[in-house]
């Protein structure tokens, strides 16, 4: 058993800094590179791509990235774990194999975690007694079944552990929890048991700190953010984990960013509910047990973590098509920029009304004034307002109404208040609205599977 492993976060979402994983494998020593690519909206996007082309449905950045980092990872014996397989982890694995082949790499093993995609099994699951009720509304899934875009179970760390036990150098999963990606190598390397809940909770919390990339190393840091050095080459977090469940959050020395109790605390508070019950498929972690201590420059010691047994359910995330939306903007300049934008909004709304279009919601925001903080925004002396961007958005189940809205924006330039610009992007096009359906599924009704690919 190793007495320490270094797990590096390489990506906090699909679209994150492309250089980050490259820096993680080249600027210092690590044992594992973990990359989270999936947000709820990502699953529906990937499912749409797979519907068009059955070979797609995974994060397409991965093969490209592998070209750069695979030779380095093999040389340095760095294992890679990612949930970027999306709704098609097998195709993702095959694409990576192809890259490995083109680089002349041999003896590479890729573990694929399958079984999370239950989109085609909804009828069977309902027949077996789970209605997949919406956790917020209590409605049964049958009500939106015809509009379902994706349906995935969140698996935890153990299917990844199984892949590692089978000798995987790379593990590619579908919808695995972000935290499971970091917890898995700890379980594998330290031999933690399925009922060692304090350890599993420690690894889960380490995963929470790593899952949003640089958000724990100075990115999006609301404290003394101006003191964060070298944002341009910000170092993503690294977890130095120990067999006793304690760990240190740090980063490569030569990179930017900073790791302090404050930067780590902000990430710990991010997107959590009841801190005593952070529920994952592996355990229920207690965030009120976490102890943080600055143990050196850019080193935060995390210890004292406790947790409880996992629940009997997997969380399921479904997405379904729920109408259309569009959004567009125009920019008004001084003088009276805000009054002009407000007048323009009234004109547009009147025109939409005269056209008898049907909307579920029309929303107006004045960017530069109140789009972020709404009624909490400071009142401003209008003479001091240099410019305002008028942003108008609509949502409707009637496609034609949304499409027509898109054609009503540009005419305001020649038929409304003066001093207006910023309409270079063309007519706003209707986008499909994707709504979420969170549900619980008894763990007995679905089984993760591990497949190995080799070259």
């Amino acid at each position: 058993m190793k007495n320490k492993i270094r797990i590096a976060s390489g990506q906090g979402f699909w679209g994150d800094l492309i250089e980050a994983p490259f820096y993680q494998v080249t600027k210092g020593e690590i044992d594992y590179l973990v990359m989270d690519y999936l947000a709820e909206v990502t699953m529906s996007i990937l499912q749409k791509q797979k519907n068009k082309n059955p070979e797609l449905g995974y994060a397409k950045d991965i093969p490209e990235l592998m070209k750069r980092i695979l030779p380095i990872c093999i040389e340095k014996k760095i294992k890679i774990i990612t949930n970027g397989g999306g709704v098609n982890p097998v195709s993702c694995g095959k694409a990576v194999l192809k890259v490995a082949e083109s680089l002349g790499i041999k003896g590479l093993k890729i573990g694929i975690v399958l079984g999370d995609n239950i989109k085609e099994d909804i009828d069977k699951i309902v027949a077996e007694g789970s209605e997949l009720k919406n956790m917020e509304t209590g409605e049964a899934i049958i009500t939106v079944k015809d509009n379902l875009l994706s349906a995935n179970v969140y698996f935890g760390a153990f299917p990844i552990v199984e892949s590692l036990e089978k000798g995987a150098d790379i593990v590619i999963t579908g919808r695995t929890t972000d935290t499971g990606l970091t917890l898995a190598p700890m379980i594998y390397e330290f031999g933690w048991g399925k009922n060692e809940y304090d350890f599993l909770s420690a690894g889960t919390i380490a995963g929470h700190i790593l899952e949003c990339g640089a958000q724990s190393t100075g990115g999006n840091f609301m404290g003394d953010w101006e003191s964060v050095p070298n944002f341009a080459e910000i170092g993503f977090p690294i977890c130095e984990a120990f067999p006793n469940g304690e760990f240190i959050i740090t980063k490569h020395e030569s990179l930017g960013g900073k790791v302090t109790v404050e930067t780590v605390s902000e990430q710990l508070l991010y997107e959590i509910g009841n801190p005593e019950e952070y529920i994952t498929p592996d355990c229920v972690a207690d965030f009120t047990s976490i102890k943080l201590k600055q143990s050196g420059e850019n080193r935060v010691h995390v210890y004292g973590i406790t947790g409880k047994p996992e629940t009997e359910f997997y969380k399921v995330s479904c997405s379904y098509a729920d109408g259309f939306s569009a959004s567009g903007s125009l920019t008004y300049s001084w003088p009276k920029a805000l009054t002009k934008a407000k007048t323009s909004d009234k004109i547009l709304r009147k025109r939409l009304e005269l056209l008898k279009l049907s909307f579920d919601e029309i929303r107006t925001e004045f960017v530069g004034y109140n789009s972020c903080h709404g009624p909490l925004a400071f009142e401003l002396d209008e003479d001091l307002i240099n410019e305002i961007q008028l942003r108008i958005s609509v949502r409707s189940h009637d496609y034609k109404s949304v499409e027509r809205f898109g054609k009503e924006l540009a005419p305001l330039i020649l038929t409304g208040p003066p001093g207006v610009t910023g309409f270079a992007g063309g007519r706003p096009k209707p986008n499909e609205v994707v709504a979420y359906w969170p549900a619980l599924l008894p763990k007995t009704l679905v089984q993760p599977k591990v497949e190995m690919l080799e070259i």
Binding site: G223, E266, L269
Partner: protein
């Protein structure tokens, strides 16, 4: 006396469906005493009038000198349903830090170095 929340705390916010989570972290123990006492769920709900249309839950994390608030019915439907520019509530922690708190006059002992320099 009146103090500005932004002088004694920082934070981060994000989305959980149509609910927003707003985590507020005090810079020191005294700041945590103040936010624990004055930053009640009711105060936060009142502060977010016109933004939060549901209930507010508050959780304490004394180990991190932090409070976590869940603001229900706040993000205009959440996800891609929401038409808000800030559909994920990323700026709501800053919105809460706009709050000014009236603390009891005998609370001078609460003053910390951070406030001394900024007030």
């Amino acid at each position: 006396m009146k103090i500005k929340l932004i002088d004694i705390a920082h934070g981060r916010s994000g989305d959980k469906g149509d609910a927003a989570n707003v985590g507020i972290i005090a810079y020191d123990d005294k700041g945590f005493e103040i936010i624990t006492k004055y930053l009640t769920a009711e105060q936060v709900k009142k502060h977010f009038t016109g933004i939060c249309f549901g209930g507010v839950e508050r959780y304490e994390l004394p180990n991190l000198k932090a409070l976590n608030f869940i603001l229900h019915n706040t993000l205009g439907g959440g996800g891609t349903v929401s038409l808000k520019l800030d559909a994920q509530g990323k700026t709501l922690a800053a919105a809460l830090l706009r709050m000014e708190i009236e603390i009891e006059n005998n609370s001078n002992t609460f003053l910390n170095k951070n406030m001394d320099t900024k007030l």
